[in-house]
C-alpha cells in the first residue's frame, strides 16, 4: 500500500504540468490525456524497479517522445517537429535549473499575476491562432494594445526566471 501512496503523490504532483507540456506541443486535449495516462501506466507497471529520483525525467521524456510521434503522424511540417525537439535541449550547462518542469511551475505561479484579459489574448493568439488584428477587434482594443499585453506577459516571465536563476 505504501507504494501506491507514493505513486499517487507522483500522479497528483505532475499530472497537470505534464498535461500543459503536452498540450503546448500538440494542442488536442484528448490525445494529451491518453499520452499522459500511458506515461503513468509505464511508471506504475515498473514502479518497484524504478529509481525514484528519475521518475520525473522519465515522465517528461516519455510524454515528449509520444507527442513527437503523434506530430509526425499529423500533417505538420518537419521543421515544427525539429523545433519541438530543440525546446528542451540547449540548456546543457544547467539542465536541472531550466528543465521543462521548472518552467511550467513558474508559469503556473505566474498565472495568478496575469489579468484575465491578458490570458484571453494569449489563448486567442497562440492556441486558437488568431491574427492580432482579429483579437484586437474581438476584445475592442487596438492591435498595439494586444501586442503590448503579450510582451508584458513575456517580460514578467523573463523577470521571474532571471530572479530564480
Amino acid at each position: 500500500m505504501e507504494e501506491k501512496t507514493e505513486f499517487d503523490d507522483i500522479f497528483r504532483l505532475y499530472y497537470t504540468r505534464l498535461f500543459i507540456y503536452a498540450f503546448q506541443m500538440i494542442g488536442t486535449k484528448e490525445e494529451c490525456r491518453d499520452i499522459v495516462n500511458s506515461a503513468y501506466e509505464h511508471v506504475w507497471m515498473n514502479f518497484q524497479l524504478m529509481d525514484r529520483s528519475t521518475v520525473r525525467s522519465f515522465l517528461y521524456s516519455f510524454v515528449r517522445s509520444r507527442c513527437l510521434d503523434y506530430l509526425r503522424h499529423l500533417d505538420v511540417h518537419n521543421q515544427y517537429v525539429e523545433y519541438c525537439k530543440s525546446c528542451d535541449e540547449g540548456y546543457e550547462p544547467e539542465p536541472a535549473l531550466m528543465d521543462m518542469d521548472y518552467r511550467i511551475v513558474i508559469i503556473r505561479e505566474l498565472m495568478s499575476n496575469l489579468k484575465p484579459s491578458t490570458r484571453q489574448i494569449l489563448e486567442a493568439c497562440y492556441i486558437d491562432k488568431k491574427k492580432y488584428r482579429e483579437v484586437a477587434e474581438e476584445m475592442n482594443m487596438s492591435t498595439s494594445a494586444v501586442k503590448k499585453n503579450l510582451t508584458k506577459a513575456l517580460n514578467l516571465l523573463r523577470e521571474k526566471i532571471a530572479k530564480k536563476q
Binding site: R12, Y40, E41, Q79, E123, K147, L154, A162
Partner: protein, 386 residues
C-alpha cells in the same frame, strides 16, 4: 536575457509568431535560427497553462479512474492465464463474446451466441473503500469502529448528509470513497450535499466523503440514477470513462456499462453532456437521452423515462426494448450467462415488466408467456433463448 543583446526585438518576435501554424516549416526554421525557441516556447506554455487552468483537470478523479483501469487490465491478464480471482473489490468484468460451437461450421449465423457472461468471482455484498479502510463491507453497523462521516441506514443505504458525529465530521478531512455494488443488488447513497444516488447492480461510484471546492464531482462505472441537490454555485458533475454530465440540480440517469454505449437520460431539469474533454457538448431536455457515438458525436433521442425510474423502485420495466437488451439486464442482475440460439429473437421488441425481487425463473416464465420464443435455464446454469 538582456534586451540590448537580443538581435530580434519583441515586436519582430510577435510579428513572426502571428497566427503561427505547425504546418509552416519556414516559420519554425526561422524561430530556431534566430534563437527564439525559448520565447516561442514560453508564449505557447503561457497560453497552454492559461487554457488548461480555465478548467483544471480533476486529478483526484483521474487518479481513481487510473487505478480502476489498471486493476481491470490486471484482471484481464490474469483471466487469460486461467487464474481465478477471489475477493476482488471492484466493478466486475463484462464479456460480450462471440461463442463458436465446437465442431460446427463457423460463420453460418446460426451458432449459439453468448451475449452475456456470468462472473464467478462476482461480489456478494456491496463494498466501501475509503483511504483509511480499504474494502469494508458497506452494511449496517456491526459494532466496529467506523468513521463518523456517514451513517448506515440499512444494508443498502449510506447517508453522508446527516453525519452521526457532527464535530468529528467537521474535523475530518474529505476523503475519497469508492462504493461497489454487486450484481443482483442496488444501493442508495446520500452524498454530503444531500444529492441522492441510486446505484444499479454491477456499478461503482467514486466520490468525496464531503464536497469541497467549486465543483461537486463524482466518477461512475456502470449505471446510476441521480437526484441532485440544488446548488447553483457548485455544478454537479458525473464523469464516466467516456463522458461527463454537468448539472445544477435535476434528476437523471447515467448508464455506462463496459461494452455498451454510455447513455444519459434526463427525467427532470436540464443537463449538459460532454465528452471527457468537453470538446463536444449537448444540452438535453426532460425525456431525452444523449448517447456518445463511435465517431465522437452525440445522438439525442426521445425515450420513455419510466424504465429509468422503475429500476430504482425494484422493477424491470421495458417498453419497446429488444429482447437482447432485456436478456443482458437479466444476466447482469441474476449473474447468469445468456446464450441466444435464435438470432432473430434478439431483435424482437417487447413490452416487459417484472419484479426484480423475484427469482430468475419468475422473469423467464413471464417472457415465455408471450409465446414468441422459449427461454430456459439449463443444467450448465446458462440461460438459453431458442
Amino acid at each position: 536575457m538582456d534586451t540590448k543583446d537580443r538581435p530580434v526585438t519583441d515586436e519582430e518576435l510577435l510579428d513572426l509568431l502571428e497566427g503561427m501554424s505547425e504546418r509552416d516549416g519556414e516559420l519554425w526554421q526561422q524561430v530556431k535560427e534566430k534563437g527564439l525557441t525559448d520565447d516561442c516556447l514560453h508564449l505557447r506554455l503561457l497560453a497552454a497553462a492559461s487554457r488548461i487552468g480555465q478548467e483544471e483537470p480533476d486529478v483526484e478523479v483521474l487518479l481513481a479512474a487510473f487505478h480502476a483501469g489498471q486493476s481491470r487490465k490486471r484482471r484481464l491478464r490474469l483471466r487469460r492465464w486461467g487464474l481465478s480471482l477471489v475477493g476482488v473489490a471492484a466493478a466486475v468484468l463484462l464479456l460480450f463474446l462471440w461463442m463458436l460451437p465446437g465442431g460446427n461450421g463457423a460463420g453460418t449465423g446460426k451458432e449459439p451466441l453468448l451475449v452475456f457472461a456470468s462472473d464467478s468471482a462476482a461480489l456478494r455484498s456491496p463494498v466501501l473503500q475509503t483511504e483509511k479502510a480499504p474494502g469494508v463491507q458497506a452494511s449496517a453497523d456491526d459494532g466496529t469502529d467506523r468513521p463518523a462521516v456517514w451513517v448506515a441506514k440499512g444494508p443498502h443505504e449510506l447517508d453522508y448528509h446527516t453525519p452521526a458525529n457532527l464535530s468529528a465530521y467537521a474535523k475530518d478531512l474529505p476523503e475519497r470513497h469508492s462504493l461497489t455494488v454487486p450484481r443482483g443488488q442496488t444501493f442508495k447513497l446520500i452524498l454530503s450535499d444531500g444529492t441522492e444516488v441510486y446505484l444499479n447492480a454491477d456499478s461503482r461510484l467514486v466520490y468525496p466523503s464531503r464536497f469541497t471546492g467549486k465543483e461537486r464531482s463524482v466518477f461512475l462505472d456502470g449505471e446510476a440514477y441521480f437526484r441532485v441537490a440544488k446548488d447553483a454555485g457548485h455544478p454537479f458533475i458525473v464523469r464516466t470513462q467516456t463522458l461527463q454530465t454537468r448539472v445544477l440540480g435535476t434528476e437523471f440517469n447515467v448508464s455506462g456499462y463496459e461494452g455498451s454505449d454510455t447513455e444519459v437520460t434526463l427525467v427532470e431539469g436540464s443537463v449538459e453532456v460532454s465528452d471527457a474533454d468537453r470538446q463536444r457538448t449537448v444540452r438535453i431536455k426532460p425525456g431525452e437521452q444523449a448517447s456518445l457515438q463511435t465517431d465522437g458525436g452525440f445522438a439525442v433521442q426521445k425515450v420513455d423515462v419510466s424504465q429509468y425510474i422503475h429500476w430504482r423502485e425494484g422493477y424491470f420495466y421495458y417498453d419497446n426494448v429488444t429482447l437482447l437488451d432485456i436478456m443482458k439486464e437479466l444476466g447482469r442482475w441474476y449473474n447468469v450467462s445468456v446464450v441466444f440460439c435464435n438470432a432473430e429473437a434478439m431483435e424482437s421488441r417487447l413490452h416487459f415488466v417484472a419484479d426484480r425481487r423475484q427469482d430468475l425463473q419468475h422473469a423467464l416464465t413471464l417472457l415465455n408467456r408471450m409465446n414468441k420464443f422459449t427461454i430456459t435455464q439449463k443444467a450448465d446454469g446458462r440461460v438459453y433463448v431458442e
